[in-house]
């Protein structure tokens, strides 16, 4: 089972992505609305990926990624961002963010996400 955790105060904005992910039978999606709730989930069982919204509780998603990897660098992250791929790379370089999520992400990004995660997880087998 591939556990993916969404951290978003407005989860319906990511419904298309979530629905795309749920077409993959091995994927299970959880959603929380705050970083505190995310840590509870993470401490219960490390998800394969944490998808962080652009802003959560007024804090930019990038800042939340930085805080998470400082506590546990094995948390794989994806970040919702309006930046171009080039600017996103520049902005998040060095944080190990698996991928940028478009605000209108759907089935195609879901497929890409699952493929990238499968590759990443295979490196640890």
């Amino acid at each position: 089972m591939m556990q993916i955790l969404f951290v978003s105060e407005n989860p319906s904005g990511l419904d298309d992505l979530k629905n795309g992910l749920l077409k993959h039978p091995q994927v299970h999606v959880d959603t929380v609305a705050s970083v505190d709730e995310a840590w509870i989930k993470i401490n219960e069982a490390l998800p394969a990926l944490v998808v962080i919204d652009e802003i959560v509780a007024g804090i930019p998603g990038k800042q939340l990624v930085e805080g998470m990897i400082k506590k546990n660098p094995f948390i794989n992250t994806a970040l919702v961002s309006p930046l171009s791929p080039e600017d996103f790379h520049e902005d998040t370089e060095g944080l190990g963010v698996l991928m940028k999520i478009d605000k209108q992400a759907g089935e195609s990004q879901a497929k890409d996400m699952v493929e990238q995660l499968e590759k990443l997880l295979s490196l640890y087998k």
Partner: protein
Amino acid sequence: MDCVALTVWENRISPVFDVAHDLMIVRIDNGKVADKRYVSFDPDRLSTLIATLEDQKVECLICGAISEMPARMIVDSGIHLIPFISGNLNQVLGYFAKGEPIVPFFLMPGCGCPRRATCGEHHRRRTNRPIKEEED
């Protein structure tokens, strides 16, 4: 004898250089690990890290995701950098010691830098060609 350093976290390559704290320094002789030792470091004190690497005669550093600034400093010091590597430490080391390419097999997925050719020396140095070949 080649000397390589890897940023480690438990039994894996540390996924993020900027929050890593431990290095494994390995001497490789005839495709085998001849000696290994662990050294702690502070990623915020790069000049100290580079001095340690130079002191230990490390020729190559293998790490996970790394920001442009530290990558540049490491490369500019003459150390061959192989960044964005992910996976089990012994597996990566085993491949490297035998001279087998660790890129792209152990390359982190998702680092689809659209400007690979221009965003930093480290992107151009992603292959683990034998160190001697680089010097030629």
